[in-house]
């Protein structure tokens, strides 16, 4: 897929909006607006957004645990205010405010969120079976972490998507940490992408801080999936800028991660890097990008006001929701 100027600006906008939504949740935790915990996705914007922005409406984006799927949701067209409202327990949230922190919207291809790591593997398999049966050429892009790759569900789902040639793109966001556990001690292979070999699917490693690299790699896998050639595995090397969950500490194993190292990670901010590239390559001017930043900030400000004025989740609706 050749990315045009508009496509690139779209990537930039989605990343900025994702970051600002994430920041708004963190601010909401500090001020008490947010009713649940939060696992910030800062640092992951290029992978979250890059793998989803160019999907079609009928395609599914299955998020992993990080960021509660904020980037994937925004790239799929969910209004940030629905994400914010859900985290604030408001009836206007995408799950009507009683989930605490889940994201779902079937029309947009967001199948729902679940906090149990690795649950997404077999669910993705099922979405893939459905896409194949539908015969409309739709695909699933399914995110998981380096930590999630330890779950046995991965094996069953990787194997079956491959033998059934299902239209699935497995997207590993390898931030080298699972809570405090370093991937170097938890993943036996050098790269998670190496697993692809055993399942007879293509596996590639890309720079997860480079949104264009992510988008291009994923779209190659998407085209392959649409053509009926089966699943692929794209591993994006990335960084988790913040603690596992807000209020926690940056620990590796059981030792604090040195400040200099965190600073080094943060110097690879995918938004800053992309902005620099857009300007250096003469694709966009500073003012244009400033306007996108400003628009995103304004959208979040309006969304925060909307959320503040929204009613709390409706107990009656909740209690009527157990059975269909």
């Amino acid at each position: 897929m050749k990315l045009e100027r508009d496509d690139l600006l779209k990537l930039y906008r989605n990343m900025v909006l994702t970051r600002k939504t994430d920041e708004s949740i963190i601010d909401g935790i500090k001020t008490g607006r947010v009713v649940s915990f939060f696992h910030s996705g800062q640092g992951h914007e290029a992978t979250d957004v890059g793998g989803v922005t160019f999907l079609r409406k009928g395609d599914w984006a299955m998020a992993g645990v990080r960021g509660h799927g904020v980037g994937q949701a925004i790239a799929k067209g969910l209004a940030p205010r629905e994400f914010l409202a859900e985290h604030c327990g408001k009836a206007t949230g995408c799950c009507f405010g009683w989930s605490g922190f889940h994201t779902a919207n079937l029309e947009l291809g967001l199948p729902g969120y679940w906090g149990t790591v690795g649950t997404t593997f077999p669910i993705t398999l099922g979405l893939g079976i459905a896409c194949k049966k539908d015969g409309k050429g739709n695909v699933v892009v399914s995110y998981f972490g380096d930590g999630a790759s330890g779950r046995g569900t991965l094996h069953e789902a990787f194997n079956m998507t491959s033998i059934y040639k299902l239209p699935v793109v497995w997207l590993c966001e390898n931030n080298m940490l699972a809570i405090n556990m370093p991937a170097s001690e938890a993943v036996a292979s050098k790269d998670v992408a190496d697993l692809a070999y055993g399942y007879n699917m293509p596996g590639v490693v890309v720079d997860g801080q480079d949104v264009v690299a992510v988008a291009e790699a994923v779209m190659i896998a998407v085209e392959r999936a649409r053509a009926g050639d089966g699943p692929s595995l794209v591993e994006c090397k990335t960084f988790r800028f913040r603690p596992h969950s807000e209020g926690g500490k940056m620990i590796r194993g059981y030792q604090p991660i040195p400040e200099e190292e965190i600073a080094e990670w943060r110097s690879k901010d995918p938004i800053v890097l992309f902005r620099k590239k857009l300007i250096e390559q003469g694709i966009a001017a500073n003012v244009e990008l400033d306007k996108i930043d400003g628009d995103a900030a304004a959208e979040i400000a309006v969304a925060e006001k909307f959320v503040a004025e929204s009613p709390l989740a409706d107990p009656e609706r909740m209690f009527n929701s157990l059975y269909a």
């Binding site: 906090g115 779950r151 938890a186 059981y254 989740a313 157990l322």
Partner: protein, 321 residues
């Protein structure tokens, strides 16, 4: 006796048992750092060979405990959230049944530590109290401590038991404090603790709910109502005798748990009271527990989990007030 918190009591028990018996080891996700800080400092003391950090592999954690136990070790697994034990329910069921189904001579000493519970707003995936699912695994012992003293004494007993044990630790209890002796002690399984004596009404409460029962019993005391509070401490084995004796005295009983009432631990306890003490009952047995719903996230969880008010309403109903 020093006052220490529940988390400290747990780590003392682990520390003492690991020092006593080198066959004891810990395994689980982030056990070196300790997600709920109940094992701080142990990796420094015992090394990574005995404080084994794993990938996110619940099936392997639970199932490997069975293998190591058969081979003579005494693993203590940390499942981080009891919700996640459902991932490895087959392995835990196998651990429970291995001895019986293989001639009755194999020892399976495993402790599955199960941090658990609601009132933290963590939603449907991280909040359940799940006592009854493991009560269904014949061969599994089930422990639900409510104080630092009980947590330490029961965990030490659990580690020394030659059978698999599910050990539930409510997250809101970790910071609660209570007296714990300096000298070593063990608390046997199957011995309920009468946390407070009383004559008008018996409350049998589990885990975190014991705290509420105690607070309310004190409030009612001031109003001239004498409530007896019983903490069974272990659900398998269950000390029904102590409960029955109390019901024979008071004639009224309220059962309180955080899990869903449908098929909950209290359903079992209530039925056993019916069997044993029907003639002593002056009023129907009442239960307070979670509604038969998944746990909602954020503040909406309050509508599903039992509240203190639910307990007050039930007490007043039992007393005919």
């Amino acid at each position: 006796m020093a006052d220490i918190n529940f988390a400290r009591a747990i780590s003392q028990a682990l520390d003492e048992e690991m020092a006593r018996d080198e066959k004891v080891y810990m395994i689980g996700e982030d056990v070196r750092a300790g997600v709920f800080t109940a094992q701080a400092g142990l990796v420094q003391k015992y090394g990574e060979e005995r404080v084994i950090d794993t990938p996110i592999s619940e099936t392997a954690i639970a199932g490997s405990c069975l293998g190591a136990a058969i081979a003579g070790y005494r693993p203590v697994a940390d499942m981080m959230f009891d919700d996640f034990m459902l991932i490895c329910m087959d392995e835990m069921k196998n651990a429970a049944q291995w001895r019986f189904a293989n001639g009755g001579f194999i020892k399976v000493p495993i402790v599955y530590r199960l941090p658990m519970g609601g009132y933290v707003g963590l939603g449907a995936d991280h909040s359940r109290a799940m006592f009854s699912p493991v009560m269904h695994l014949a061969g599994m012992k089930v422990v639900v401590p409510s104080t630092p003293y009980d947590a330490k004494g029961l965990l030490k007993t659990a580690i020394r038991d030659d059978n698999p044990v599910c050990f539930f630790e409510h997250r809101l209890l970790y910071r609660t404090r209570g007296p714990v002796p300096e000298e070593e002690y063990l608390i046997p399984f199957g011995v309920a603790d009468v946390k407070k004596e009383g004559s008008d009404l018996t409350i049998v409460a589990l885990g975190y709910m014991v705290q509420w029962a105690m607070e309310l019993a004190k409030e009612y005391e001031a109003k001239g109502v004498s409530i007896e509070v019983i903490d069974p401490r272990t659900l398998e084995p269950l000390d029904i005798d102590t409960i029955v004796k109390s019901v024979e005295k008071t004639g009224r009983v309220l059962l309180v748990e955080e899990d869903m009432t449908r098929c909950g631990a209290t359903a079992e306890i209530g039925m056993q009271i019916m069997d044993r003490a029907f003639d002593s009952l002056d009023a129907p047995i009442l239960r307070v527990g979670a509604k038969n719903f998944p746990i909602a996230g954020g503040p909406m969880e309050k509508l599903i989990l039992p509240s203190k008010n639910d307990i007050i309403t039930a007490i007043d109903k039992l007393l005919g007030r």
